[in-house]
Symmetry: C2
Subunit: 348 residues, 2 copies
């Protein structure tokens, strides 16, 4: 079933992956497994997330960005749990027509992010893909024992914060699918490029992890859209969540597009791929949280509040639109609920 | 890019994966990450391996076997490192035409192996596959600190052991590709089924891990064939390896096929998917190793010896056929070298 392919997997490892294996845990990829001595007193926080051509990125996206995206969507999760990233394992399904310059870019993309975020490649596996590129990464971080910040830790009275700006990636994807929208939305070239870049490559808020760990009661990263992910936080925590639409932080590009096309509010609040952090912070910790976020140079914005459980709600395992609508309320300028639809964005 | 699919990923998790998340580390899959408190005094041993339809298994293989195979190829690596398995993360790329009964089988296959091998699902990610089923698993085990058994720990004078029998899976794959071979090889129906089953589903030697940990200087699992993998062990260890072809343990089915078709020796020694363990054991520990293996009810057979480094060899990162031929010598009945060809089996 496997016809010979050159270069071999061993050659691929030697040329592109061994230089990334800078941590002793990896044995320079010279063994079949990695061996990690856990930091004393730490719990390990583990996450696996995959991205695939044609689903999470476009088949013609540059491979440095694709590799970095695969890593960053995992680092984003670790940051939202308050964890310091340590290392990762890479499972790569390569299409048979891969080119050397693509692998060069792939390794360069990972290398740059390793340096920036302080992680190293611990191990991996490379197989031929039945079709397009599929990258699955398992990232591992550390928190003090028992301290991982849970999705289900939001409590009535907490303030709800998000990092960065929301909706950029969703709008960037819309622009990617229909470039004419840039003109329709009245965007400058810079604004268009900003939105496209935010879809291509998320910015994991690794620098926010210490603030989350110290001050947030509950937190998660936003990958499927604010509406659906806030619903998950609400149900896990057994609370209701009220979001002030006007308070949701927008980039200048998203603001201009929304002004021109108010119906984009739905894409901004329910679109996916934000990879920002949603955090519930007790009011007495809010100032300290804001200061800690500023110390990490990550912008955070209060967008709402956590309330008592919605009447008749339950922590259902499978999420339905009705339950989400009950858990999350979006209010507009006049304090009246806005109907966004609760579909959110599903990668699956 | 992502059109709605039902059931949602949340529903998929609730129905099929949450029941597998029996370890507190997984929070019943109710969070974005798992949180593991490492066993005191332990190093974690980490491995990621992927299997894909059309490459590592046939698209029409039953999903319980496919799921178990994906888990077992990782457990096999942990066992070869002397590690006790703890848990795993699952990254699943599902073709869009998956059926409920397939997912039922998939979960049942994992559930049975979890019970048998003492592991639990810690987390995962499910995406749509661009084409066929791709399963990437990251398995994590534990060894006492600093004690992971390395591939590079073989020393001149060590005895070389393998577990189980070799070549069954390679012959099973040949039968799968051409069922008429069963008659040509003179196999009984039971013998044919044995070889087919050994290809479909490997038997990870988890029960051998304590013996490996206690007595082996170097070890690895055999996934790409004895010749190529022994070459890797030899080069990593800076030693030569001599294998007595007559000593290589064969199942009755493989023995019968080999008697009828002596040219199968190459497939048996260089074919892949054995998932048996190759271990280098110092002679003074050999008896204790054999007893410990027997205590785990795993058959082990001495098949050769470790010698001084081959003249002019080096531990090259990329393996070439010439270097492998120099590192590994296969000898036959008359003690003369047999040329097997050093290609081995490459999954990639």
């Amino acid at each position: 079933m496997a016809e010979p392919v050159r270069p071999s997997e061993d050659a691929l490892i030697a040329r592109w992956f061994r230089p990334l294996a800078t941590d002793p845990a990896s044995f320079r990829l010279g063994d079949d497994c990695a061996s990690l001595t856990p930091p004393p007193g730490a719990d390990l926080v583990l996450k696996t997330d995959a991205v695939a051509a044609g689903i999470h990125f476009f088949a013609d996206d540059p491979w440095d960005a694709v590799a970095a995206k695969a890593l960053r969507v995992n680092l984003s999760d670790l940051a939202a749990k308050g964890a310091r990233p340590l290392g990762y394992l890479l499972s790569l399904a390569l299409p048979s027509d891969w080119r050397v310059e693509q692998m060069e870019a792939f390794a360069a993309g990972l290398g740059a992010d390793q340096a920036r975020f302080g992680v190293a490649l611990w191990g991996g596996d490379t197989i031929r893909s039945p079709d397009g590129l599929v990258i699955s990464i398992t990232a591992i971080g550390a928190v003090p024992q028992g301290r991982m910040v849970r999705r289900g830790g939001a409590r009535p009275g907490d303030r709800l914060y998000v990092s960065g700006t929301l909706g950029d990636a969703a709008l960037g994807l819309m622009l990617r699918l229909d470039p004419d929208r840039a003109a329709a939305w009245g965007l400058t070239a810079d604004e268009r490029d900003h939105l496209l870049a935010r879809y291509l490559l998320p910015e994991p808020r690794v620098a926010l992890a210490p603030a989350i760990l110290a001050h947030a009661g509950g937190a998660m990263d936003l990958s499927d859209g604010l509406v659906i992910d806030a619903g998950r936080m609400g149900r896990s925590s057994g609370v209701s969540i009220r979001i002030d639409a006007e308070a949701v932080p927008l980039s200048p590009a998203a603001r201009r597009a929304l002004n021109r096309a108010p119906e984009l509010l739905r894409s901004i609040l329910a679109g996916g791929d934000d990879y920002e952090i949603l955090a519930a912070v007790p009011p007495e910790a809010a100032t300290a949280f804001e200061h800690a976020a500023a110390a990490g140079a990550v912008a955070v914005t209060a967008i709402g509040n956590v309330g008592t459980p919605p009447t008749g709600s339950q922590d259902a395992g499978a999420c339905g639109a009705v339950q989400e609508a009950e858990t999350v309320t979006i209010v507009g300028l006049d304090d009246r609920p806005i109907s966004i639809g609760a579909e959110g964005y599903r990668h699956f």
